[in-house]
Amino acid sequence: MSGDVKTDSGLEKILRSGQFAVTGECGPPRGADPDVIREKCKLLKGKADAFNITDNQTSVVRMSSIASAVIMMQEGMEPVMQMVCRDRNRIAIQSDILGGAALGVKNMLCLSGDHQKFGDHPQAKNVFDLDSMQLIQTVRLMRDEGKFLSGEEIKKAPKLFVGAAENPFADPFEIRAPRLAKKVKAGAEFIQTQCIFNMKRFRQWMKDVVDRGLHEKVFILGGVTPFKSFGMARYMAKNVPGMDVPDELLARMKDTPKEKQAEEGIKIAVETIQELKEIKGIAGVHIMAIEWEEKVGEIAEKAGLLPRPSV
């Protein structure tokens, strides 16, 4: 897995050199103001190796991930362009892959996408022409074989480092490692996991992953999200599909005085990162501080992840 770098992605270089990688996340605004992204970039710059730009997350309309990624690059940072299958057919998907690559995007994360029921346009028609695995196959085909899904040749192939997400906590649990195997077979080169709160279950999943040798075929970045408050922890536990927040963690947040809850949330995130660093097969962490970008640096610092290597 180390060695042969296939793209100009800094994230790929760091991972293939065997260094512990850090990725962050930046949600585009619900408007056309580029300065919102620039402000977030100022908070995030240098705190991670690359930053996911979400693609209409939770099915709420936002500035496009491609446009936001370009603004981020203007700020001298490396974006991971997220792309969901919910809103585009294979024609638009391949077109956007070419467009993103032409504008200088080096990383892409392939996702199915939340159902539109959760968003601000539940009446929308969804697409799902491809699913996330087939999206991975598509971008690898385009990059490695220089071909469109039609089989026709691409004049200049898009060089993107290809990632996917995996949720070790969704059901049925028994297929969660086989599902990762499918994503690897499809061509995923790095994986960012869902937010890890249930460390026991995560360790079980990682054991299955390592037993199958998957950690030698794909870089796995453990997902970490700090709780801002007990309210947020409870919301994530009860209202976010596929999220697994154990009772003891909820109790720990609840038992913390309100004014200290944010601090406690960060402490938990740092502890999680420290545990992840020790788990066999973990190549990095993905810090998702949702609308709390200013804390990414603090978490990375406290977890001993700064400064980030230059590539």
Binding site: S132, T138, K182, A186, P241
Partner: protein
């Protein structure tokens, strides 16, 4: 069968505005089985319409009839003598039946009384669920006999997504996760190895996306 649900009464009333005499036409096919478009439904809807229009001082004359199937020209012909006497036909068939009536009687408006909802079956009397999306490329052999196109909210061919929780879909705790059902069944059939095969990218040209479809039995075309 094709499932149809009756449209909101107010919407039906609105489509009939301006008409004084109509034919309320039932269908003896699928919609009779799912209790929304047969003889009984014709009688109930007709009397509701009459009562409502009487109340408004704008009476509506109604002829009631149900044919064997509205999606068959032979049966649609049975209303040939009635159509000249009415201003419009209110059809309780699925969308196909309504169109057969509209095509056959070009000068008489045909209005739908149902919203055609899905292809499915019954759980028990009066309780129907979706099972097929008529994608034109049946995949049930690979998915334990459970359709991911019709039953997964995202039609994922390599599911489940990360939102499957306790056997339920992320869109609602009332909806079963199709992929949980598929995996349970594959396990039961000892076919779990099929789960790890990547599903081919679908050819949606065989779906409605390829344009209106036809099925022709050449041996019957004499």
């Amino acid at each position: 069968m094709v499932i149809g649900e009756r449209k909101p009464f107010e919407e039906i009333l609105k489509t009939l505005e301006g008409h004084k005499k109509i034919l309320v036409l039932g269908c003896g096919g699928c919609v009779t089985v799912c209790l929304t478009g047969g003889d009984d439904a014709v009688r109930v809807l007709s009397s509701q319409l009459k009562m409502s229009r009487d109340k408004d001082g704008n009476p509506l004359e109604i002829i009631e009839k149900t044919v064997e199937r509205q999606c068959d020209p032979e049966y649609v012909e049975e209303i040939h003598d009635i159509v000249p006497d009415v201003e419009a036909v209110l059809s309780l068939a699925c969308g196909a039946g309504v169109q057969y009536v509209a095509e056959r009687y070009a000068k008489t408006p045909a209005y739908p009384a149902l919203d055609t909802t899905f292809v499915g079956g019954s759980v028990k009397e009066g309780y129907y669920v979706e099972r097929c999306q008529t994608c034109g490329q049946c995949k049930l052999a690979y998915t334990g006999g459970i359709c991911p196109i019709a039953r997964c909210s995202k039609s994922l061919l390599n599911g489940p997504c990360g939102g499957s929780t306790g056997g339920k879909c992320e869109i609602s705790p009332e909806v079963d996760c199709a992929w949980q059902l598929i995996i349970d069944r594959l396990r039961y059939l000892d076919q779990m190895d099929r789960y790890e095969e990547l599903a081919d990218i679908a050819d949606w040209s065989k779906n409605r996306d390829g344009g209106p479809r036809k099925m022709i039995r050449e041996d019957f075309q004499r």
